[in-house]
Symmetry: C2
Subunit: 152 residues, 2 copies
DNA sequence: GAAAACATGTTGTATATACAACATACGGGT
DNA sequence: ACCCGTATGTTGTATATACAACATGTTTTC
């Protein structure tokens, strides 16, 4: 008998599609990679109610104590509007304050923000260790090479 | 004179934060990597008004002609609700149709969808070539290793 | 066969992200 | 002093994504 799971009759054949391997795609490989790694980090960070994007902001501003907003976008390679809105949430929660220098915003970490990130760091390290364990030594070196080649 | 760009007086020091290197983070490395690669793909795909996520759906369903919705999520490692909504857009645009087999949705590519993806493939290949050129042969192998380790 | 467990799909909500359009400010050149 | 180009920030809009809660249907257990 015919299953309901039969191909709808397409009007013609699509040879280019059929001869193309979607998995050679660099973007797809990275997308799959980051989904698995993100899941690891989310699991470890869940109790802190923080995301990796937010933690990146906390760490990068925290390490410098303050940073011009424009620098944050450059260091994390984020679009300007993304930075505006990601910071907005963190400012509302009291982790950062925004001051102005010659009409340009400068982002300062607060004591609340610094304490918060310090409370998160141990679990972030655990997540990093779990991810590294999955990668192995060679996988970690490989990731470093990929990042270097792409951002060089 | 003192610049306006001076650190706000934090009430205490944050040694753990200061001694921590944010850039050892596996998730951050992958996030930076995918941002650079995504930009390459967006540039090449811009004229087709398609995103990499959409193109992945088109290719994976197109290669199989039809796929149970649950399989799509497994292959792309996407959450169920994400699949529901990503597909919804593509169905509305007429690239897929949704039929039901024992009350479970099965996604079929349409002629419109198959023609569309074939029209995109050349530019997608060009994007892939540009990304591979940036990676180099060693970087490409490194990326394959990273993906393999993470998804094995 | 009924109840419990499991798998799958959808909707509500929050976050992250980019691009376009616009606003604003700064710096140079005249 | 003024204009112009560049850099930067914000808002509008669209997409992508995950989790929680719920609904539904299937499978397993007894």
């Amino acid at each position: 008998m015919f299953s309901y799971l039969c191909a709808m009759a397409l009007k013609k054949s699509y040879d280019l599609l059929e001869s193309t391997d979607p998995w050679i795609c660099v973007a797809s490989k990275l997308a799959l990679s980051i989904r698995t790694v993100s899941a690891i980090y989310r699991k470890h960070l869940k109790a802190h109610n923080v995301t990796m994007s937010q933690l990146s902001l906390l760490m990068i501003v925290g390490k410098h104590k303050f940073l011009p907003q424009s620098e944050i976008g450059k260091k994390l390679m984020l679009e300007r509007s993304t930075v505006t809105r990601d910071l907005k949430r963190m400012i509302e929660r009291g982790y950062f304050v925004k001051k102005y220098d010659k009409s340009r915003p400068v982002i300062y970490i607060t004591d609340k923000g610094a304490s918060y990130v310090e409370s998160i760091i141990p679990d972030w390290k655990a997540a990093t260790e779990e991810a590294k364990a999955k990668l192995g030594e060679d996988g970690e070196q490989a990731l470093n090479l990929v990042l270097h080649k792409l951002t060089k």
